[in-house]
Structures are given as C-alpha cells and as structure tokens.
C-alpha cells in the first residue's frame, strides 16, 4: 500500500512537471514569436523607409543630372526650370560631372555626361533649380530659384545672359561664371574686362581691348575676336601661339614694341627671341610652301633666318627677297614677281597686264583642260587660231556677220503695291538696250572658243562656271539698269572668281545671304535676263538663224519665280555645219533646247521644269509678229502664237499658272506684252488673250 502511494506520488510529481514544461514552452513561443514579429516588422519598415528615401534622393539626382545633360547638348542657349519634390530636405552639390545629394548619413552620387565649365555649387534645401546654358560660351550654370531675369538684381544672373539682356551686376571685372555678351559695350565704356568673356574661343561679337592687361601678359588667353584689332599692346599669348609657321589670329601690335630697335641701315628690327611671329600672314601671297607676312614696317630677325617665311620688311630675307622670277625667267623654283604671269606652256614669266603676252612662245595655250591650257580664271588669255594664229594651227575663218535685226529690248517687270505697301502684282514693259549682235565682245568671246557652238556650250555648262556668275544686286531696281549684252559678255569674260553668285553692291544692295560682296569684280556679270540676252547675242553672232534662237522667260518653282534664258532649235538644216551643230542635238533633232547660262546647263526644253513658258523674242522682234503669225481675226486684228507650238517645257510637279496668279501675283501678262505691238497673242494649246 505504501509502495503504491509512493509510486502515485512519484507519478504526480512527473505529471506536474510536464504541465509546467508545456505552459513554459507555450509562453516562450508566444514571447519569441512576438519579438520576432516586432523585429521583422521593424526591420521591414526600416528597410522600406530607407529604400524609399534613397529612391527619392536618387530620382532627384537623376532628374538634375539629366537636365544638365539636356542643356549641355543644346546647340544654342537653353533655360530649364527644374522643380524639386516639396518637403525633401537635402544638400545638393553640383561639381565636375557629378551631382551629389546628401541628407544626414545618406549620400547619393550621380554622374552626368556633359561639361559645364563652371565651378562647383552647393544648395541647401532647394525647392527649384534653374539650369541655364549660354550658347556663346558653352557654360551650363545651375542656380536656385526661378528662371527669371531681373536686370536690377545684385547677382549676375546667367538667365539674363541667355536672354541677351544686359544686367548691370554682370558689368564686372570679377569672375562669376557668367559671360553676358549683351554687356560688352558697357564693359568697354567703363574700361573693364569681364574675365568670364576673356577666352580662347570666338564669341562672334566685338573684342574688348581692356582684356589685355600689361601687368598680366601673357595670361593664357589669345582671343580670336582680337584678330586685326589694334589696341596698343602685343598680346603675348597670340605672339607665342601664332609663331614659327602657325597662322590664324593677327595681332597688329606684335611683335612687342620693347623688342624693336632701329638698325644701322635704318631698318626697324625685332630682336631674335626664337619666335618668328606669323599671325599676320598675307593670305593672297601665302602658299602651302611659303608664308608671306603682311608688311608692318618691322623686320623680324627670327623670320629672316627661315627659308619658308617671307617677311617683306627684311631687306635680306632669304625667303622673299628677290626670290621671285623676273620677266623672261622660268617660274620653276620661285613664282613670278608681281605684275608677271607664268605662261602654262613654257612656265616663263611674262607681263600680266597684256592678256596675249604668252602668244608667240610657239605653244598654243588654250582653255583649262586642254594640253598646255591655262588654269581657271584666265579666259581673256585663251589662245586659239583666232586669238593667236602664231602659236595655234587651224583655220581661222570667221563667218559673215551682219544679217541681224534691230529689235534690242528685253522684258522688264515692275512690282505694284497697294496702299499698305503690300505687293499685289506686277506690270511688264519692253525696255532697255539688251541685245547686241556681231559686236567686238561677242566676237572676242567666240574667237576664244574657236567659233564652235560646242565650246560655247561648254562655257555655259561648266561648274564652277567660266563666267556667268549671278549678280544678286541686280535685283535692286533691276528695271532701271537693263544692261547691254556687250557689258555682260565683257564682264563675265573678265570675271575670275569661282563664286557662281556674288554682289556688286553691299549692304541693302546685297539681298541674298549666300552672295559674297565682290564689288567691282562682280559688277556687270548680270543676272538671268542679262545672261539670256548675252547668250542670244553670242549664238546669233555665231550664225544661228533668227528663227532658231530666242530669248524667253518662264514661271517656275514652288514660289513661282521668273527666270529668263535662251532657247535654240536643233534645226536639221544646221547639221551640215559642225560648228553650229551642238552634240546635244544629235539625239534631239528638230527639238528645242534650253541654253541656261545662269543655271549652267544645256538640256532639252521638254526636260526643263517650268510652270508655263513666257514669250519668245530675238533681234527680229517678238515671236507672235515675226514667226507666230496667224490669219487676221474677224475684225482684221493681227494675231500670232507667243511661242512655237512645238515648244513645250516640263511642268510636272510644278504649281499651276492659276496658283501662281492667285497666291503670288505672278503671271505672264501676254496681253500687256503684246499690246505695244498691236497684236493679239495666242498661247499654243490655249485661246487668244
């Protein structure tokens, strides 16, 4: 019994112990689970929060760096206003190719691609940034706040520079990362130099002479805008950079005055310092082998010692003194002296002012591309059996000249304006003394081309043209200056530039931006109507019959512009005379061809684009009267076609005549053109007008 009680007691003790353990285990489990859950939630929230913060700052840095890149990739000036997320506290630093955003221990660094050329800047809690690229200096500035220019503000604002507004705070000689070119004149007026604008690249505006500081010379800057500007001090940066064969920026104050002395021979010399200053080269006399300097009254002893730099001020310069070839000498080692020209056949120097000075050397020196031919630009020197029978073999029989008519006028259009000075159309008239046949200039022109139509057409079609440049200034009061074919032919024969468009007047007299002002060189070369009259005169002088060659004009192109040129018919009767039969006619027998000296082509009329043809005329008069006559009308009036019925140009893809009339006020005005001759004009394929 005792044993059983003892056993029960023992069992009870064990049972109690088991209950205690399970409770303990459950409690421990709850506690551990609670702690784990709390830890995990805390960890998760903490991590998520830090990720969110990092992502937010990362996005800000990315946005700013992307905007900086967009600005630095802009071709000109650009202003970008960059708002930043509200409530985001941060310090932002923009440094060399890097945006650094920091908040507490968190730092985000983001690289950008473009160069900003500005110093590092730091912003504290910015709400908006303004990113400004100034096109003139390629700088990208970042400032805090709105992108607005307040000219009265005390801080020089790059926004004003980008907008071209001069802000008085930018008129300073203290570097502030902003070059405001709109303030340049104020800088000069106040005698200060903005160090931000003093640089080695051109800004395309006036040069500030106050940027040369005698106490800080050289300063590492040779501004290309200082080219050819005299300011009293030699910029030593330019002096050192553009020496010993490097040309580019000419500082007329160099070499430095303190290095100049007068020699016993009375000549001013520059002491030798190892720098032969070649910035001021004479561009017309300089060749790839030799640099010739501009005469400045000082002999640079460093240049004097060279073989390929000619300083004309040095009496004993090996490179240029007497090193040109005299008359009668061969231009082998050195070029001909001034006033002489080397004949292409024997390379001997002869007088340049006589166009035929090479004639008589036994060598036929003709047009470019032929054996012993002249370089381009020497048309008046071309030798043929006609111009130089001594040197050129061949028959030089000129055809009979003289069977030409007396009609010399050309069509001219004057614009008509309404009260608001808006162009509403134009009024044509027959004016001027344009056509000139069998004159001395046409004869000389043909002499140089063997009186051969194929050589004439070669001149028309070559590019760059053998003359027949386009004087854009002819558009200014063209009607008042209708010119004669003699002048056009002569001017184009003497035209030596390779530019196919030029201006004889400058300023407002030069209406096309792509036309260089050449002044007298360009004067007389004419425009399309002059070229057409010249070409008609030449072809008639050559012997093309009056019913086969005319001047005409048309309306062409999207803007319905007028254009004049010569047309010629491949008359089968001309085929027997090779000098009057151009090779283009072989495949166009009986067809009309365009001889367009202005646009430098000879092509079938049927392939010449135009809206519609104008009127034909030549020295015998207008086509309706001379060749286009029709039976008289019912009231006895004279009638005729304005151009041959088989003359058709290519009007595919061109606007319609109606569109040209309605949209541009451009039309032929056949009735106005025919009325002075009291003839009713008929357009082939159309009706009487």
């Amino acid at each position: 019994m005792k044993e059983r009680e003892t056993a029960n007691k023992k069992r009870n003790v064990r049972k109690g112990q088991i209950v205690l353990s399970e409770t303990l285990l459950a409690a421990t489990e709850v506690i551990i689970s609670f702690i784990l859950i709390v830890l995990v939630i805390q960890l998760v929230f903490q991590q998520q929060s830090s990720i969110t913060i990092e992502v937010a700052y990362d996005s800000v840095a990315r946005d700013v760096s992307t905007s900086i890149d967009r600005a630095s990739a802009a071709a000109g000036s650009m202003i970008i206003e960059q708002p930043l997320p509200k409530g985001l506290k941060m310090n932002m630093t923009i440094d060399y190719k890097t945006v650094i955003v920091s908040f507490g221990s968190l730092t985000v660094r983001k690289s950008f691609v473009g160069l900003t050329y500005t110093n590092a800047v730091t912003f504290t809690n910015p709400s908006k940034l303004c990113i400004v690229k100034t096109g003139n200096d390629k700088r990208v500035n970042v400032i805090a706040g709105d992108c607005t220019c307040n000219p009265k503000s005390d801080n020089c604002n790059p926004v004003c520079a980008a907008q071209g507004i001069c802000q008085s705070a930018c008129v300073t000689n203290v570097a502030d990362n902003v070059c405001n070119l709109a303030c340049l004149q104020k800088d000069i007026a106040q005698g200060i130099c903005d160090p931000d604008c003093n640089r080695n690249v051109s800004s395309g505006v006036a040069y500030n002479p106050y940027c040369i500081n005698p106490n800080n010379n050289p300063d590492g800057v040779c501004n290309p805008d200082s080219n050819n500007i005299k300011k009293g001090i030699c910029d030593k940066d330019c002096y050192y950079t553009y020496s010993n064969g490097t040309t580019g920026v000419c500082d007329p104050d160099c070499p430095p005055s303190d290095q100049i002395f007068v020699g016993l021979d009375g000549v001013k010399y520059k002491t030798s310092d190892g720098y032969c200053y070649t910035g001021c080269a004479n561009s017309t006399a300089t060749t790839s082998q030799k640099i010739t300097l501009v005469k400045d009254g000082v002999c640079d002893l460093d240049c004097n010692a060279t073989k390929n730099i000619c300083d004309p001020d040095c009496p004993n310069s090996e490179a240029c003194q007497n090193k040109c070839m005299k008359e009668g000498e061969k231009a082998a080692q050195y070029p001909c002296c001034e006033g002489l020209i080397a004949c292409p056949g024997d390379n001997v120097c002869r007088k340049a002012n006589n166009p035929m000075s090479c004639c008589g050397n036994g060598i036929c020196e003709g047009r470019p591309g032929t054996q012993n031919g002249w370089p381009s630009g020497n048309k008046t020197r071309w030798e043929t059996p006609y111009t130089c029978p001594q040197d050129c073999q061949g028959n030089a029989q000129r055809p009979q000249c003289g069977a030409f008519g007396s009609f010399v006028s050309s069509v001219c259009y004057r614009d008509i304006f309404n009260q608001d000075e808006t162009r509403i159309g134009d009024k044509p008239s027959w004016t001027g003394n344009a056509i000139a046949i069998c004159n001395s200039e046409a004869t000389k022109f043909l002499d140089r081309r063997n009186w051969d139509i194929n050589e004439v057409f070669k001149t028309v079609a070559s590019f760059p043209p053998e003359g027949y440049a386009y004087d854009a200034s002819r558009y200014v009061n063209a009607c008042d200056r209708i010119q004669n074919a003699v002048q056009t032919i002569s001017s184009n024969e003497n035209y030596s530039s390779s530019a196919n468009i030029c201006c004889s007047l400058d300023g407002t007299g030069c209406p096309f931006p792509d036309a260089p002002y050449l002044g007298q060189k360009c004067a007389g070369v004419g425009y399309c109507a002059d070229h057409a009259a010249a070409m008609l005169s030449i072809l008639r002088t050559l012997g093309i019959p009056d019913n086969d060659v005319f001047m005409t004009f048309d309306i062409q192109g999207a803007n319905c512009g007028r254009h004049a040129w010569a047309v010629m018919r491949c008359d089968p009767l001309l085929r027997n005379n090779p000098k009057l039969w151009p090779s283009i006619c072989d495949s166009n027998v009986g067809q009309w061809i365009s001889v367009d000296a202005t646009r430098h082509f000879v092509a079938p009329l049927s392939q010449t684009p135009c809206v519609s043809l104008g009127m034909f005329w030549n020295d015998k008069g207008i086509y309706p009267l001379t060749y286009g006559a029709l039976p008289d009308g019912p009231n006895g009036e004279k009638r005729g076609y304005v151009f041959p019925t088989d003359a058709v140009c290519n009007n595919y893809n061109e606007p319609t005549p109606q569109q040209c009339r309605d949209q541009f006020g451009v039309e032929h005005h056949y009735n106005d053109l025919c009325s002075p001759f009291k003839v009713t004009c008929v357009v082939p394929g159309g009706s009487a007008i």
Binding site: Q48, V55, A75, G76, T98, S111, G114
Partner: protein
Amino acid sequence: MKRLKGQLSYIIKPLSLVMTIVLLLLLYNSISSFGTRETAVQKGLDLTSDATSTLLVLANSEDCLAYHSPLTQGVYANIVDLNKLNDFVGKYSATEPECARSFDFGWRITITEFKRTEGNVTEGNKWSFGASNFSRDNAFHQDLLFSIPMAVRYSDKLTRPATMQIHIVDGELEKIAGILDWSCVLFKNNRITKFSIQIKTSYPLSYNSQMNELCSMSKEKSCRQMWCPMNFAEIKSAGDYILKISYTDGVMVVKS
C-alpha cells in the same frame, strides 16, 4: 493514449515555432528582394538616361562631334563634323572622350553612314571609338544598345545620313575606374588633396603601369585605360574595400 498525446505536444510546439520563424524569414526575404528589384530598376533608368544623354551630347556639343559653322558661329542639331569624327577615332580608340564621359558607366560608339548607290541605300563608312573592354562575368551587371539618327558632314555640298549607336555597360570595373578618373580630374585641378571611397569587386584588381590600365581579373581579364598614372596597391581577392586615394607628383596613390 495520454502518454502519446503528451509526446505529440512536445513535437508540435517547437515545430510551430520553427514554422513561424521560417514564415517570418520568407516574408522578410520577399520584402527585401523587392528592394533589390527597386534598386535594379533604378540602375536600368540610370543606364537608359545616360545612354540618351551621351548620344545627344556627342552629336550636339561643340566639345564633341557637332559641326561648328564658322559662318554662323553656331552648331546644327545632330550634324557631326567628319574631321572631328576622324580625330576621335584616332584619339579615343580605347577610352571615352572627356566631353561625354560618364563616370558611372562605360561605353563604345559605332557610327554607320548610309549612302545611295544606283538607287539603293547601302552602308557606307563606319567609325568607332570609346572603351574597348568592359566588365565580364560576375562584375558585369547590365548593358544596353541604343541608337539615334544623325548626319556626317563631309563638306558644304556633301552630308550623309548615319546612325550613332552606343553600347553602354554597367559593371564594377566601369564604376571603380570612373571614380578614380573623376578623382584624377579633381586632383589635377587642386580641388581635393585626398579622397576615400567604398568599392565592391567580384574579382581581384590589378594595375598595369606600362599601359596605364586598371584590370579586373575575371575569367577573361578586362582592362580600362585610366586618365591618371597610378600607384595602385593590388587587390588580391573579391570583397568590399575602402580605397584611400591621394595624389603625389602627378601620380594617384591608391591604397585599400
């Protein structure tokens, strides 16, 4: 039966504890992997943004390839100068030009022009410049191919259409070389005197002083040309390091 029940409770209780821990770990892992994905997306955005910016800067910036007209003193959008292009091909055959260098990524550009012959458009000249080597294996993170249309200007009369393609790479070598090149510029401009940065590398890093190249010793070695000569203490194994950088007599001293 009672005895069995007691034994079962001994097993179930710890098991449920372990299960709870496992579930919580899974939850934590899932949430933290979300963060990793977020970071990867951000990196992808950075890569795309840098690729676009690099192409635009190369094509439009006068410092890079944009044609500068002496007549207008300006540049034209997306028209590059043939002379500059040839110059870049010669100068930057193995590294990126400073004008469009990103210090976060590495890139190489290929420009292919198109020309019309007998009515057909065919590929013409090709030019290539930029980094010649990129991170490999585990050091490589991601890359991107991206292109824009542009034109190559030969002369006043000839401009040919072309495409400019960038191969941009995000990798450990690019990041480490980038930060070293960035420091190099700041050292040269006396902006800083010393600098330290934390890096992570999956492979040993060594420096070839003769070629001025930093190399990641992955299965196939990849190297990048550096902007500054260095005295670089070799990193012999993968891991996280803090690089201490200073500059003496034109040489960057890099210690880990």
